[in-house]
């Protein structure tokens, strides 16, 4: 009799635990769905859909060893074709260098050797703390899954603090921590972690601009969390969504424009 009571109690307890867990995961899934929606919105707004985008970028890199360096770059983007072209205009010694992405290929052009070399979105941009992928559209919802989120404050903004883990090993950083505003779903800060979960880089997006239907950071700050004192600031100006001629996204253009 006593054994039967114990058995029943164990079964009831087990059922409660399973039910409780199920309810909790259902609630978690619901919450994550809300954050997922926000991330999809962030991704969608960072692309230019059917339109083109052009801007002038001023990249200021601070390095305790090398000092402060400024690079001015003209950027052209056509997200629907996975294309972008970037032409370096300053400093003078690097004028003529450029990047061209077409689909999965990314080339770097050096006018001194008149040669294109393959590079990758994961590579750093011109020895700065920015990566080539920082100049393309975001895809958080596609590449990452949400592992945890909390609500918090960043300055005067109420934010969701979201922890993401990569869904595959194609992305540069396996773990991310995002600060997204609750009011208008803007990413204000991103911490990027290594596979060993060590903070490697912090990206800050203090201001945004609406360009056509898209919203993109007007200013980006990247702080290297491993090398002390290394940071890069990127400011966007002369932003435009006017159609860009097809020939801009060709190797011939990069060769020709630099002559």
């Amino acid at each position: 009799m006593r054994n039967t009571i114990c058995l029943r109690a164990a079964v009831v307890l087990g059922m409660l635990l399973v039910l409780g867990g199920g309810l909790q995961s259902a609630a978690g899934a619901e919450d994550f769905a809300h954050i997922e929606t926000i991330l999809r919105e962030v991704d969608t707004r960072s692309t230019f859909g059917d339109g083109d985008f052009a801007a002038l970028l001023t990249v200021i890199t601070e390095d305790p060893e090398k000092g402060v360096e400024q690079t001015v770059v003209r950027q052209f983007r056509r997200d629907r074709e996975d294309q972008f072209a970037m032409l370096i205009q300053e400093p003078r010694v690097q004028r003529g260098q450029g990047y061209l992405m077409d689909g999965e290929n990314l080339w770097f052009y050096d006018p001194s050797s008149r040669q294109f070399s393959h590079t990758s979105l994961k590579e750093t941009f011109q020895d700065s703390d920015a990566r080539n992928s920082d100049f393309t559209a975001w895809s958080y919802a596609e590449d990452y899954e949400i592992t945890e989120y909390t609500e918090g404050q960043l300055g005067v903004n109420s934010v969701y603090i979201v922890l993401l883990a990569a869904l595959h090993d194609e992305v540069t950083y396996p773990y991310l921590k995002l600060w997204v505003t609750q009011e208008n779903a803007l990413i204000l800060k991103v911490e990027e972690y290594s596979l060993t979960q060590r903070l490697m880089r912090t990206a800050l997006f203090p201001s945004y601009a609406r360009v056509g239907d898209s919203v993109i950071p007007r200013q980006m700050v990247f702080v290297d969390e491993l090398a002390e004192g290394q940071r890069t600031q990127i400011a966007f100006s002369e932003m435009s969504v006017q159609p860009i001629p097809d020939y801009v996204f060709t190797r011939a253009y990069l060769e020709q424009v630099n002559r």
Partner: protein
């Protein structure tokens, strides 16, 4: 025969100055060809040794597999066929190294520098323990901690790192994800920056963790052989047994075999299942260097040929003059009953004597020059790849030296043959009268 030799030697010493000039020309030829050959042979050996040491072996085996996303990842797991091959050839293998490697950025404070990092099994790599020159700390200290590292001297100086401090290494996993390792500096080693191959050494298990590989996997298997010249034969055996990676169009597979490939970043030329191997030998990278040495050898042979022509002309003219000068003497010898072949042999022996004497002197001078030059220490970084511990080394192949002697003697004999024959053919009466 004794009379012939005696007469020949006496004739050589009779005109000392002329004989010295002739022997000097021959000696110069021998000196040049011996020096050049000794230099190129020594240089080849040095380059081979330096490369073997820098790359860590004579035969290089690397493995690649394709991930689900189509990336080529460098990796070797336990393989029965590979193990059997190693056991079968164990008598010829002096040592085996199983390493992982990555090109990362070492960060210390605000300073950072790119650096090749090898993940090694210190216990198993006795050759590494005995060949690496430790300038501070010890490899035993490195072996004690999983996260310990031996850094090249030059890198430590650049970063300002002291023993016992911690450095970070920023690197990519085999699939290209960013990762960071924390290493404790336990030793500084003399690097091979002058060979263009500076490397830091850490524990393979920890490096594998950072590369996102299982701790017992590795990326390259290098074999040091007892006989370096057996490398190609052994590589062929491995190629016959192991599944090979399809040959790429861009030569990436060859680079990967030596650990130079952009691991984890390549797209497969055509897909395959499981791990495929790439096998290379030290001779594969020696080919272009050997081609350069061959050109040097050909050049020195050309110089030798020019010198031989000069020697031929010199000896022929000199012996014609000798015959003119000794016409009466030849007549007297013939009148006293000396036969024509004996007269001919006297002149030929004189030429052979000159050739041998010049050759020996040339060889002696070359050996002297080699001894002096090989004692000089050369600090020029660009030359270190061709030197042994900063010094030129010369290697003489006895068969080649003998061949050069034979060529010189033959040339001397051939040059003197016609004057010797005309001397032998002189009628005694005419010769006694001093007429040819």
């Amino acid at each position: 025969m004794r009379t012939v030799l005696k007469t020949a030697v006496r004739s050589v010493f009779r005109q000392k100055r002329r004989s010295l000039l002739l022997a000097g020309a021959i000696a110069f030829g021998m000196l040049m060809i011996t020096l050049m050959n000794g230099f190129t042979e020594g240089m080849l050996t040095n380059v081979r040794d330096n490369l073997s040491h820098a790359l860590g072996g004579h035969v290089f085996v690397s493995g690649q597999e394709i991930t689900e996303t189509g990336r080529v990842v460098s990796r070797i797991d336990f393989d029965d066929r590979l193990q059997t091959l190693l056991e079968t050839n164990s008598a010829e293998i002096a040592s085996i190294t199983r390493r992982s490697q990555t090109f990362g950025t070492v960060v210390f404070g605000s300073r950072q520098s790119a650096q090749m990092l090898y993940g090694v099994d210190f216990q198993a790599e006795e050759r590494l323990r005995t060949s690496v020159a430790v300038t501070a700390g010890s490899l035993e200290a490195v072996m004690e901690d999983d996260q310990a590292i031996a850094l090249p001297d030059s890198l430590a100086q650049r970063l300002g790192v002291e023993l016992g401090e911690t450095v970070l290494i920023r690197l990519d996993t085999v699939t290209g994800q960013r990762n960071v390792g924390e290493f404790w500096v336990r030793a500084f080693i003399e690097d091979q920056a002058e060979l263009g191959m500076s490397a830091a050494f850490g524990h393979r298990a920890y490096v594998n963790t950072l590369l996102n590989l299982p701790s017992d996997s590795y990326q390259s298997l290098n074999l040091f052989l007892h006989d370096l010249f057996a490398a190609d034969k052994m590589a062929d055996q491995f190629r016959d047994v192991l599944p090979l990676r399809p040959v790429g169009e861009d030569g990436d597979d060859q680079a990967a075999a030596f650990g130079f490939g952009p691991f984890g970043q390549q797209q497969a030329p055509e897909p395959w299942d499981g791990i495929r191997f790439t096998i290379a030998t030290i001779n594969d990278i020696m080919e272009p260097i050997e081609a350069v040495v061959l050109v040097l050898d050909r050049l020195s042979l050309g110089v030798f040929a020019v010198l031989l022509v000069i020697i031929v002309v010199g000896i022929t003219n000199t012996f014609r003059m000798i015959v003119l000068e000794r016409t009466k003497e030849i007549g007297t010898m013939r009148a006293l009953g000396m036969q024509r072949p004996t007269v001919r042999r006297i002149f030929l022996a004189e030429a052979a004597f000159l050739g041998l004497f010049g050759g020996v002197v040339g060889l002696g001078l070359a050996l002297g020059a080699m001894t002096v030059v090989s004692r000089l220490t050369v600090a020029e970084p660009g030359l270190q790849f061709f030197l042994a511990q900063g010094r030129f080394t010369f290697q003489l192949v006895p068969q080649v030296v003998l061949l050069h002697f034979a060529i010189l003697t033959f040339v001397c004999l051939a040059s003197a043959y016609w004057p010797a024959r005309s001397a032998a053919d002189l009628p005694p009466i005419k010769a006694l009268g001093g007429h040819l």
